[in-house]
């Protein structure tokens, strides 16, 4: 049993700041996770060398892997800090833990990054059901349990953007929207009322940065903390986009 936890954290004091690494040595307690480790630093913000420093800035909220806030690179791998257990991470990192911000998003400060791009993408694919209004219109359409079973896993997407971080195609060159957005397009295309916008969603995913940018690396499905069937969604949407293009060609 170690007496201390050795942590190396990549720090940056603002979007334009340069990166610097700080090392910390935190008293060991069993059953800690990465967010409680960061809490310990806030309680006593002193580096391993004894230099006074500032608490680490990072995003977190629910601490139970459902809000999607605390994605970061832990030992070089994109994952949620709340469900990353210190004991496991120490073992994996050979007695040391390395923390860094996600690499594909602008850094706000330290481990916090700006992931607004995902929410903008969700607007592009109209990821909603266009209901007539919130007044009482009676029950919704009946839905076979099989459809619910297929929709529910896609609806578990927590917008953590890990699928985008690990995707080799998600970069400035391709403008790829990433797997999460494609999964949401499929989710709403499958809804009996949401499907009214199906054609618009498919067209939004057919141009630059659309579904065809996927290079089938399959990193997304392996890294997704919630186990979403992302590659299945990409291939389904890819097929639908193709069919839509053919239809639009003959209609034109």
């Amino acid at each position: 049993m170690p007496t201390t936890i050795e942590v190396e954290i990549k720090r940056q004091n603002g979007p334009d700041g340069t990166g610097a690494v700080e090392n910390f040595s935190i008293p060991y307690r069993p059953n800690m996770n990465i967010t409680s480790l960061l809490g310990e630093i806030a309680l006593n913000p002193v580096t391993k060398e004894g230099k006074a420093t500032t608490p680490i800035t990072y995003d977190s909220n629910c601490l139970e892997e459902i809000c999607g806030s605390c994605a970061m690179l832990i030992n070089g791998k994109a994952r949620m800090a709340c469900s990353a257990l210190v004991d496991k991470m120490l073992e994996e990192g050979g007695g040391k833990i390395k923390l860094a911000p996600l690499s594909k998003f602008p850094v706000v400060r330290d481990l916090a990054v700006d992931r607004a791009v995902l929410f903008e993408n969700l607007k592009k694919v109209k990821a909603w059901v266009p209901i007539d209004g919130t007044y009482d219109l009676g029950a919704g359409p009946k839905q076979a349990p099989q459809i619910q079973e297929e929709r529910y896993p896609l609806s578990n997407c927590i917008s953590c953007t890990i699928c985008m971080e690990v995707c080799p195609q998600f970069n400035d060159v391709t403008n790829f929207v990433g797997a999460a957005t494609i999964g949401q397009a499929k989710l709403f295309n499958m809804d009996p009322s949401g499907s009214v916008l199906k054609e618009e969603r498919l067209r939004a995913l057919s141009g630059d940065g659309g579904v065809q940018e996927c290079g089938f690396a399959q990193n997304c499905v392996q890294a997704c903390p919630k186990g979403l069937p992302l590659t299945e969604a990409i291939s389904d949407i890819g097929r639908d986009v193709f069919v839509q293009k053919v239809k639009d060609f003959f209609r034109a």
Binding site: N33, T57, A112, T134, Q148, N156
Partner: protein, 593 residues
Amino acid sequence: MAAATPRIIVVGGGLAGLSAVIKIAEAGGKVDLFSIVPVKRSHSVCAQGGINSAKNLKGEGDTPFKHFDDTIYGGDFLANQTPVKAMCEQGPAIIDLLDRMGVPFNRTPEGLLDFRRFGGTLYHRTAFAGATTGQQLLYALDEQVRRFESEGKVQKYEGWEFLSAILDTKGACRGIVAMNLRSMELKTFPADAIIICTGGNGAIFGKSTNSVVCTGSAQAALYQQGAYYANGEFIQVHPTAIPGEDKLRLMSESARGEGGRVWVPKDRNDKRQPNSIPETERWYFLEEWYPKYGNLVPRDVATRAIHKVVYEHGMGLDGQPMVYLDVSHLAPERQHKLEGILEIYEKFVGDDPRKVPMKIFPGMHYTMGGLWVDFNQMTNIPGVFAAGEADYSIHGANRLGANSLLSCIYGGFVAGPKAMEYAKGLEPQQGDGGHAAELIRQQQYNNILLNNQGTENPFQIWRELGDTMTRHATIIRYNAGLREADQKIVELIERYKKINLSDKSQWANTSFAFARQLYNMLQLARVIVQGAELRDESRGAHYKPDFPERNDEKFLKTTKALYDDNSDAPKFEWEDVDISHIKPRPRRYDATA
């Protein structure tokens, strides 16, 4: 008269806030939505088990009135009955609406909504989406708001924190001061009315099932500006949470709704693996003590039972404060409906709850009290409305499981249109309506905090606050302990004045934002412990062994705390409870009839 298009600010983007936003946008109002986190990451996302409504799709003869009665009885008659009745009557229409928005509710083979059982009722009344219902509901409302946002009807301010309301010379609200959590800039925003939907205050207890943002800071700021804070002493401790280093992770009541059982070995020295302990050597204490409701007694009852088994009978697992919550005997299709929460347990504890019983203990979970509101969801400050967990209405002395999601949406649906109505009748403001003065007040506060010379660390003060509150103001309360807690909080407020922030920078300074919240938490903590001390009875979640009975004659009253500037402490008033529909009767879940 005010401008033709009312301008409303909604603070908080959980279920209540988003519900209010949708109603205002739909009615043609202009709405600005403020949230500390991107709204899709709000704490509503953590709700698990489901949402109640008496749809009566199981042929049981359930009705909105029975739902109303269960809610009032479950809340030990402390809730004003008129809004509760209205909420239960609107329940079925709210479920239908959510269904139409595309929430992936579980279905019956015929394709209708499925319903499960929950605590404090004998009916299948809880619609659910696996065990992540809050997440699914939040997303559905978030999507509708995103639609309005793309149409230009809603402006989101994510990453901005509410600091205070701007009040004019007549005391009416004319806007808010908010802080940008990246640039740390303070700015005023005009509004004809504001709606506070900022959730509960779990952070006051250090570790709870709540999210990091649930500090109660916004409510406490308004309380210090003259809003009544009601029933602060009513805090729900959920019977089944996973004890953790950083927080207590909820294990939904739906685990018991689907057939999960709570037990300990009959022999406290039994060292066998739980699965090898035969049925006859297990003590299913809830089923024994409450034969009619069994494992589905209301939360306050289950929590006290677990506390008693551990601390009075000394029967905690391995002498530790834990008991088993067992779903390992359930059929795979039942376990499948609980997938979301079983995964949480597996990830954070390491054991597979499909195979071995979970180890759980009660944890602070829900804030029944909150900003006092009238039946239109307006506080006593004109133009300041509140909805959801942030207000005190609906749940009385104890909330029933799966009623929170409903109350959030109901509250937002009332507050939105009522705020519009108020705004339309509002007289134009004189001068700047108080904007400049309030901005200066908040800037001065920031300067004090940044220039303090002391040795105190805000996170250390928070830790001590949490320890004190958990020890004295959760499951069991004694007046001596509550007084000790109040003295401790006064000491912490003094020490707060000597906080020296290690980070004084003005960019994404999270410890600075936290230090601001901490002051408000300390003020609200006093409301909780003093309110609890003054209530010499036991009712719902508020339990005093020295006063074990409910006392309607003296305490069938809403506690109202008002901040007193001179003494920097709360003053208390009491208000009669609306019992116009159901006559109070003894609350006994151990009766078999």
